[in-house]
Symmetry: C2
Subunit: 114 residues, 2 copies
Amino acid sequence: MTKTTIEMEKAAMILKLLGDKTRLTMVKILDDSDCCVCEFVEIFQTSQPSISQHLRKLRDVGLVKEERKGQWIFYSINKDNEYYSFVESVLKQLPDQGYKLRELEKNGTRITCC
Amino acid sequence: MTKTTIEMEKAAMILKLLGDKTRLTMVKILDDSDCCVCEFVEIFQTSQPSISQHLRKLRDVGLVKEERKGQWIFYSINKDNEYYSFVESVLKQLPDQGYKLRELEKNGTRITCC
DNA sequence: TTAATATATAATAATTTGCTTATATAAGCA
DNA sequence: TGCTTATATAAGCAAATTATTATATATTAA
């Protein structure tokens, strides 16, 4: 175990960030596979700005990082983040969300876009 | 491991609840020892209604329970709660907060009140 | 170059949250 | 019984959060 305890204030900040269904699901999905913005828009059936704003919050604390690939911007978990192990310990309690991406593939929405 | 995964929606709800420094610290403290309201007021140096309101949120989802002892009401972790193991998995990442109660003892604030 | 697509950002509005102040209730004590 | 202490609750308010609408930027394709 590489467990260094996290400060209470920082822990509360991270938990608040994860305490939103959309962001929590995003992070859980990203923990398995990189994803681009339009896929999240499809998955959550919500507006693009809303998705972007959630991603920004995650990015602002360094939990996720972005990488442009042509027209698209892919997000991925930032394993170098100081809170990564704390976040992982939460994520591993959650049910797998891989089916959400598989649904996209079934719809053809995944390939079309990314 | 008695790990039954928690639904995403419920997980987000619990994380939001814990995503407040005061509540997170309360729960961490209660995980070690029962505590009464006036002790929390002392520890967090804030108003009694504010403490009561935080406790109510924790109680409303069944994370903590109360027991009256004469004049005082003691709060404790509700280990029967369906989210208990999820919460525990978070709490065990956090630094021990026992020193906060020991400080009260030093001040005499713990004994005086409870 | 123009149009289309993907994304970010800014401004605004709606909702939620957390604190304060005031008040109510319950128990213990003079 | 009346006073004090511990706690809860209600109402009001300011700050924070989230979603929406509008607009800007970057890339690709025609």
